[in-house]
Subunit: 476 residues, 2 copies
C-alpha cells in the first residue's frame, strides 16, 4: 500500500458514505483523537468517519480496500499501547464507532445481551444491572472505554479471576472485514463446534483483522453476598500464601485478589481526593480481597472471616479490615483503581503490564526490584495488580527530584531489564494491554519467527490490501 495522503476526491467519497454531518475534519476537533492517554504517540489524520450502521462500516472498508486508504478503528481512545492512534504521516483515516452505541437486545433469562461496538462499558454494566444481572468486566476506564475496543484488546481488569477476560465473556461477534464483507457470527450458544474459531481470532487482534461492530456478551446472576477485605502483610510471598488459602477456601467465590505496595497507599492517600489509609498500622504490602457469593449473604461473611482467621493463624495477615458497608467497599476499590492516576503527580512513570505464572510472583518481584534499582538507584517502584492472575502493573516512578524527560528517555532500557526477568520466568510482556505500536518490535524480537510468520499469514489472508490498522501488532 502506498502511504500517499488521501486526495480531496477520496476524502469526498468517504464523506459521502456517512454524510457530512458524521465526519470530523476540523483539525482542532480531531486533535484529541490523535493522542493517547500517556502521550507516548501523536498521530495525524485528515478525517474522522462516524458510521451509524454496520452497512456504513462495510462501505467504508470496501472503499478503503479499493483505494488503498488505511483505516484506524477507534472507540474510547483509552488504549495504552498506541493501537488506536493513527500514524504521524497523515495518511490514515480514523473510523470511530461512537455512534454505534445501541444495546440491540437484552435477554436476562438467557443471560446475555447484544451490544454494538460503540457502547460504553459502563452503559453495558448498567443495562445488565437494570435487568438484575451482572456484566463483570470492570476496569479503571469503564466510564469511557467502549465494547469494540474492549474486545479488540481482550480487556482484562479486576474481575478476571472469577469471570475471565473479555474473550471469556463473549459468545458471538459481528465483524466487518477489511474487504467490506460482513461476517455475522452473533451466536448465542454456550457450545458450538462448527469449524475454526474465528471469534477468538478477532478478539485481541487490535483492529488489524476487521472492525467488531457488535457482540453477544454473557451476563451473570448478581451476587447475593459481597465482602471486601483490606489486609496488611509483609511480602508478596505472604500474599501468595494467602491467595492459595483464599482460592482453596472460596473457589470461584473469590472475585478479586489485588496486591499493592506501601508506596501505592502513600501515593493514593497523598494525591487522590477522599482516599484514606484503611488501616491504622503501616505494612510493606497489602491485598484487597473481594468475595462474592450466589447462595446467601451469610456465605460471603463466613468466608471472609474464615480466610482472615486462617491468615492470622498462619502468620500471614498482620492486620486487616473488612468493609462494613457498600460505601466502604467502594472506597477500598477506589483506592486500588486510582493507583495509576496517583502516580502522575509524582513525576514520570515507566510502565509494564506483565504476567508470570502465579507461583512465580514473589521471585519475579524480588528479581525485578534488584534489577531496576541497580540500574537506577532511587527509582520508586509502584508495582501492583491482579496477583490472582499473575498480572502485575510494574510501574516505576522517577526518583525524587529527577528530571522527568531524562527519566522517561530510559523507558526502553528499564523495559529491557524487567522484561528479561519476565521472559526468564516464562511470562508475558503484555498481560492485558496488548501490543499496538508500543510493543510490536519487541514482540517480534522475543517470539519465535514461526509465530510472527503465522500471524502475518493470517493478516494477509484477511486484509490483502493492507488497509486495516496497519503497523499495529505486527509490521507488514
Amino acid at each position: 500500500m502506498d502511504a500517499r495522503l488521501p486526495s480531496s476526491d477520496i476524502i469526498s467519497r468517504f464523506t459521502a458514505l456517512v454524510g457530512p454531518a458524521n465526519v470530523v475534519s476540523d483539525p482542532q476537533e480531531i486533535a484529541p483523537r490523535l493522542v493517547e492517554n500517556r502521550g507516548l504517540y501523536k498521530g495525524a489524520s485528515p478525517l474522522v468517519l462516524k458510521p451509524g450502521s454496520t452497512q456504513e462500516v462495510s462501505a467504508i472498508l470496501r472503499l478503503a480496500s479499493e483505494t488503498g486508504t488505511a483505516i484506524v478503528p477507534q472507540t474510547g481512545n483509552t488504549g495504552l499501547v498506541g493501537g488506536q492512534t493513527p500514524s504521524a504521516d497523515g495518511t490514515q483515516l480514523i473510523l470511530s464507532l461512537e455512534r454505534m452505541n445501541r444495546i440491540r437486545d437484552i435477554d436476562p433469562l438467557a443471560n446475555l445481551l447484544v451490544a454494538e461496538g460503540g457502547c460504553i462499558l459502563a452503559d453495558v454494566q448498567k443495562a445488565a444491572e437494570s435487568v438484575g444481572r451482572l456484566f463483570p468486566l470492570s476496569l479503571g476506564s469503564e466510564g469511557s472505554c467502549r465494547i469494540g475496543g474492549n474486545l479488540s484488546t481482550n480487556a482484562g481488569g479486576t474481575a478476571v479471576l472469577a469471570y475471565g477476560n473479555m474473550r471469556q465473556l463473549c459468545l458471538g461477534l459481528e465483524v466487518v472485514l477489511p474487504t467490506g464483507e460482513i461476517w455475522n457470527g452473533l451466536r448465542r450458544l454456550k457450545k458450538d463446534n462448527t469449524g475454526y474459531d474465528l471469534r477468538d481470532l478477532f478478539i485481541g487482534a487490535e483492529g488489524t483483522l476487521g472492525v467488531i461492530t457488535a457482540a453477544v456478551l454473557k451476563l451473570f446472576p448478581q451476587p447475593v453476598g459481597h465482602q471486601v477485605a483490606f489486609v496488611g502483610l509483609a511480602s508478596p510471598q505472604h500474599a501468595l500464601a494467602l491467595f492459595e488459602k483464599a482460592s482453596n477456601l472460596c473457589g470461584t467465590a473469590l472475585t478479586g485478589f489485588e496486591l499493592m505496595p506501601r508506596i501505592g497507599i502513600e501515593f493514593t492517600t497523598r494525591h487522590i481526593a477522599g482516599v484514606r489509609d484503611p488501616l491504622p498500622t503501616v505494612h510493606d504490602w497489602y491485598v484487597l480481597v473481594d468475595i462474592s457469593t450466589s447462595d446467601s449473604a451469610e456465605t460471603a461473611e463466613r468466608l471472609v472471616h474464615a480466610l482472615l482467621e486462617q491468615g492470622l493463624e498462619a502468620g500471614l495477615v498482620e492486620n486487616a479490615v473488612i468493609a462494613a458497608s457498600v460505601a466502604q467497599a467502594k472506597a477500598l476499590w477506589h483506592m486500588r483503581e486510582s493507583m495509576s492516576d496517583a502516580q502522575k503527580p509524582e513525576g514520570g512513570s515507566i510502565k509494564h503490564d506483565v504476567s508470570v505464572p502465579v507461583s512465580k510472583i514473589p521471585a519475579f518481584m524480588a528479581a525485578a526490584e534488584e534489577g531496576v534499582l541497580a540500574a537506577m538507584p532511587g527509582a520508586r517502584i509502584c508495582a501492583f495488580g491482579h496477583l490472582g492472575d499473575g498480572n502485575i502493573h510494574y510501574n516505576i516512578s522517577q526518583p525524587v527530584g529527577a528530571d522527568k524527560t531524562a527519566f522517561l528517555a530510559r523507558w526502553r532500557e528499564m523495559n529491557a531489564i524487567v522484561h528479561a526477568i519476565v521472559l526468564e520466568a516464562g511470562g508475558s510482556i503484555s498481560a492485558e494491554h496488548g501490543i499496538g505500536q508500543l510493543k510490536r518490535d519487541e514482540l517480534a524480537a522475543i517470539r519465535p519467527e514461526i509465530e510472527i510468520d503465522l500471524m502475518r499469514r493470517i493478516k494477509h489472508a484477511f486484509d490483502p490490501a493492507g488497509i486495516m490498522n496497519p503497523g499495529k501488532v505486527i509490521s507488514s
Copy 2:
C-alpha cells in the same frame, strides 16, 4: 494435491523417519484404525506412523509437504464425525500419537500440567488426582480418547457447565505445522495479550491446521463437597425452570445438570448391566443434578436439599433421590453415561449433537418431536444431554420391528428435519462433536459464504501443500 497412492519409495522414506518398529503396515493391524465407532465411514491406508517425539512428527509433516502425501492424525479414534478416518482411496497415511503419552510436567501449586497429545484422558485425570487436583474434562470415552483429539475437537462432556470445554481448560500448545515447523506455544499464563490467538485456532481445527503434540492444561482444587441428585419431573419446561433455580442458588457450584427422557431410563435399565431405576415412581423426564463445593461438604449438602425443597414447593420436582454414597453417585452417572450404548441393542440410531440457547430447549424439544414423528411414526426419540449448556444429543432409535438398514438410510432426511428446527432457534448443528466428514457439506450449506471462505483462507495460509487431514471440516 494429487491423490496418488504413495509409492514404495515414499513409504520407505516415511518408515525411515520413525524406524520400522514404529510403523504398522499389516492390513489386519491397520484395519481397526480405518473405521470409527458408529461405522459410518470406512477408510483405507497403507501405513500407520507412530512417532515418538515432536521432532519425528515434524520430520513426517515436512516430508509429507515435500511429497504431497496426505496425513491423517489419529489419537484415540473415538471421534463421532469421521474426522480421524482416512479417505477410502488409500492415498492417506495415518499419524498416530499413541507413543507420545508422557506427562511432561505437573505443578499442583500452579494448578497445571503439561501433557503430550497421545496421553489418554483418564491418565491425565489420574495424574491430577495423584497431586490432589482435578482435571475436570469428563466424557464417556475417557478411558481411550486422547488429549490431542480432545483438543482438536474442543471436547465437551459432562462438566462443561462449571469448567468449560477443552478450549477453556488449555493454557498453551505445542503444534507441528503442516510444513513441519514447530510452534512452541506452551505458555502457562492466565493472561497474555500478545498478538493473534493462535492457540484457539488450533483447538477445534480437527487436525486440519497442524498436529497438537503437547498442551498445558489447567487443574483445579478437588471439590470438598459433592452431591448428586436424581429428579423425576414432567417436562423439559419443568427441567429448565429447575435449572434456573439451581443456577441462581448454586452459581458455579452447579457442576452438572443433565436431562434424560423416560425411554433412556428404560433402555439403560434393560441393556446395561447393574443399572436400576433409581426411583420407585415413573416420570416422563429426569434430571441428574451434580453439585460440587470447595469450602465444605456441608455447603453441598445444604445446597442440594435447598434446591429440591425449592423444586418441590414450585411444583417442579415430582420425586427425587439424593445419592447417599460415592458408589450411588457413580451409579447415577453411569446410567447417564451409558445412555448412548444402551441404544445399540434397540436397533439403528440416528444421531444429532445440537445446541440451542438454553431458554429455547423446551420449544426445540417439542418442535423436533413433532417433526420427527410426522416423518417417521413410531420413531423412538431418546433425546438427552447437557441441558445447562443447551446441548442435546437428539438421538432417534428405529421404530420397533423396523428394518435397520432402511431406517439408517433416512439419516440425512432426519438430520434435515431436526437441524432446520435447530437453525430456526439460532442453534448449532454440532455442539461438541465437530464437523469432520459427516457435517462438512452441511456446514458449507448453512453458513454464510464469507465464513467458509475465511476458514479456507486460514487453511491455505497454514497448509499450502494441502496435506493436513484434507477433506475434513471444509472442502479444499
